[in-house]
Amino acid sequence: EADIYQTPRYLVIGTGKKITLECSQTMGHDKMYWYQQDPGMELHLIHYSYGVNSTEKGDLSSESTVSRIRTEHFPLTLESARPSHTSQYLCASSDGLGRAFFGQGTRLTVV
């Protein structure tokens, strides 16, 4: 099993709060991704990174931001959480062959 970690696993937070979802991988992968997924639904790419200091917005518009200061760390930040942000957020990294490895996800509920 690949070594990619997300914290927290579950988060319930009030509207307007700032939150940061953590994602770390120990495999040295350059490419990392953030996906948003509602239960039973498709994966929506919201951010991706090709390496340190390289980040791009994904196909789904998102009010979140990301940073990639270190290869192993790719945190996602919501400056002001809203109920519409309630979802599961999945972080992934991919190896040289393009195979993706996912973290266990963060289930976010904004009340």
């Binding site: 490419k31 991704y33 498709e42 790419l45 791009e56 999945l90 393009g98």
Partner: protein, 111 residues
């Protein structure tokens, strides 16, 4: 941009019946990957196909990559309750060869 389409969206089968999901890309792919996501879990890499016309087997699962490298299929023989989940195909595409996922096929198995 590149699109990866997957059908059916949902399939409910009796245990012991076969199941197939199909994946079609709008562009030629260098490789196709398949992932499985159990209910409440995260996507897990199953296999990668690279060659035109390639067929690979994993126990009761058979994966095919089309001759034109634009389509793929996953066939499960004699489904079991452990096969329940969502099956995603994915291929590299777009700027920087980021991974593009299909919408997934949800498989439910009646015992």
């Amino acid at each position: 941009g590149q699109q990866v389409m997957q059908i059916p969206q949902y399939q409910h089968v009796q245990e012991g019946e076969d199941f197939t999901t199909y994946c079609n890309s709008s562009t030629t792919l260098s490789n196709i990957q398949w992932y499985k996501q159990r209910p409440g879990g995260h996507p897990v890499f199953l296999i990668q196909l690279v060659k035109s016309g390639e067929v690979k087997k994993q126990k009761r699962l058979t994966f095919q990559f089309g001759e034109a490298k634009k389509n793929s299929s996953l066939h499960i023989t004699a489904t079991q309750t452990t096969d329940v989940g969502t099956y995603f195909c994915a291929g590299p595409g777009g700027y920087g060869n980021k991974l593009v996922f299909g919408a997934g096929t949800i498989l439910r198995v009646k015992s």
